[in-house]
């Protein structure tokens, strides 16, 4: 496993796993994050994985209290401990990534930009739906909004630039395309994505201790459903 550690503030260290977004990097990051979760260092507050990095937030005052007379700075202690810990971790190939199906009612009022995406790419709206729903997507990161997945794997055939004028309100559950990215808005939000449909699933669950439906490494499939099924969808 290749990585590099850097102290970036009084309470944060970033671990970088390379300069490119690849499946190997994803697996390295997942191996490390699950190891950190299982180990529970008392001075680690939390960690934030992202594409090619993990940022680890620690409590420098807690570290200082372990040895108040030490000349070593808390960040040096944290760096040493993390270097040591990382050297013991081996990349585990995640053989069974979680597969999640996201039901989507495409087009109509729920997908006001479906026609634009079709026109922009010189294909029919049915073809857009077909291509989007047949794609296999990987969650590379959760961020930007609570529960929002950064998905890799959108087909070039339906790449569409963001709207010139963003909408003031995009409803929760909206499925969209922006450039070469696709994703789902987990909460009401302003935004410039091209909205092609909506899912009745809740991607953000604030009442649960794991408030995001999706996690880094998950494999996603979109499944077309009718407006009737969308309206009748039972919350799970």
């Amino acid at each position: 496993m290749e990585y590099h550690l850097q102290v970036v503030s009084e309470n944060a260290i970033i671990v970088e796993f390379g300069k490119e977004i690849t499946e190997t990097t994803l697996q390295d990051i997942q191996s490390v994050t699950s190891s950190i979760e299982n180990h529970s260092f008392p001075w680690i507050v939390e960690f934030v994985p992202a594409f090619t990095t993990i940022t680890i937030y620690f409590d420098p005052f807690k570290i200082w209290q372990l040895a108040p007379d030490s000349k070593q700075l808390p960040s040096q202690y944290a760096l040493e401990q993390l270097e040591l810990f990382l050297s013991t971790i081996q990349t585990i190939k995640i053989s069974e990534p979680r597969k999640i199906t996201i039901p989507v009612c495409y087009g109509g009022e729920l997908g006001p930009d479906l026609e634009f995406v079709a026109k922009h790419n010189n294909i029919s709206t049915d073809k857009v739906i077909n291509i989007h729903a047949n794609g296999e997507y990987i969650v590379y990161m959760v961020g930007f909004a609570p529960g929002f997945p950064y998905l890799g794997g959108l087909s070039e055939k339906i790449f569409t630039p963001r709207k010139k004028t963003p909408r003031l309100l995009i409803p929760e559950g909206s499925v969209g395309i922006a450039g070469g990215q696709t994703g789902v808005y987990p909460i009401d939000s302003p935004g410039g994505w091209q909205i092609i449909g909506q899912t009745p699933l809740k991607l953000f669950r604030p009442d649960q201790q794991i408030p995001s439906l999706l996690k880094m490494g998950d494999r996603i499939h979109f499944m077309p459903i009718s407006l009737k099924d969308f309206s009748n969808w039972e919350a799970d």
């Binding site: 009084e10 977004i21 934030v48 594409f51 420098p60 929002f148 939000s189």
Partner: protein, 334 residues
Amino acid sequence: MMLTILKPGLFTSVQDLGRYGFQKYGVITSGAMDQIAHRIANILVGNSENAPTLEITMIGPKLKFNQDSLISICGGKADPKIDGVSIKCWRPVLVKQGSVLEFGPISIGCRAYLAIAGGFNIPIVLNSKSTYFRAKLGGFKGRALKAGDQIPFDTPSELSYRLIGNLTNTWTQKPYHEANWLINSSIVPSYREHPSIRVIKGRQFDLFNQESQVSIFEKPFSISPQSDRMGYRLLGPRLSLTEQHEMISEAVHFGTIQVPADGNPIILLADRQTTGGYPKIGQIAAVDLPLIAQAKPGTKVRFIEVTLAQAQRLFLQRERMISDLKQGIQSRFR
């Protein structure tokens, strides 16, 4: 036990020290912008440092205490008055049932924190009572306060009762009673109209061109009106990279100074998103975060370079002072 909001002020909300443990799910930290003022206000009324306070912005609220309460107001110069009479900040004050607290506009700084012994009895959402505005969660109903809101308190701690007892012994006819002791003024951050802010070089500092590397530490920047709890947009010399560089999103922190394509730096603050894809030129030293939290639009700031080691030492120095303050109060009011 309740607090009634008669007038909400410009932008008042419930904040604690923030929501931690869920950033990997895209859940932002929120929390008090000036964490030192928030913590000291809580310590002075015998609360835990993380108890929720009211974060008051620019123009404070008008509120009524439905029972005797021990309060403290810390932060910018907020000019609080109980039933029309000025009370002091940065100390505990016992106020009588029925008294009305009002604020003049904040004249130095822009945020103040009202701590009440016991904190607020409001739901904990994802381990915190901070308001997450964008998700409409946490705090008091996930929003800023409005006229007519009634916020219930929790039971004060043993220490709070001892502080109350101490002040009750010498109470007079006035609707309030201030403690006659002060905290060590060196704990209070040096709030200034045009502050100098200590900054560590950012992770992508070396990607910026020579001129930008010099400008960031030599020229003044002013805080634009496009500034809020999410971030402050700065105006001043435009900063540029040596060459175009497509950055991969990574975590950002409270006090990160990032530079988008237009060259105008943004300081990321309490309501920042968890990750960002713009190059980082600097990271504000933790010890000076309160100074930036108290800077309002129009303020000129200068950045002074410090090393990570210096920043840590300054941070630990202040933490030790706060720890001493807590212990001092605990032993004095045993």
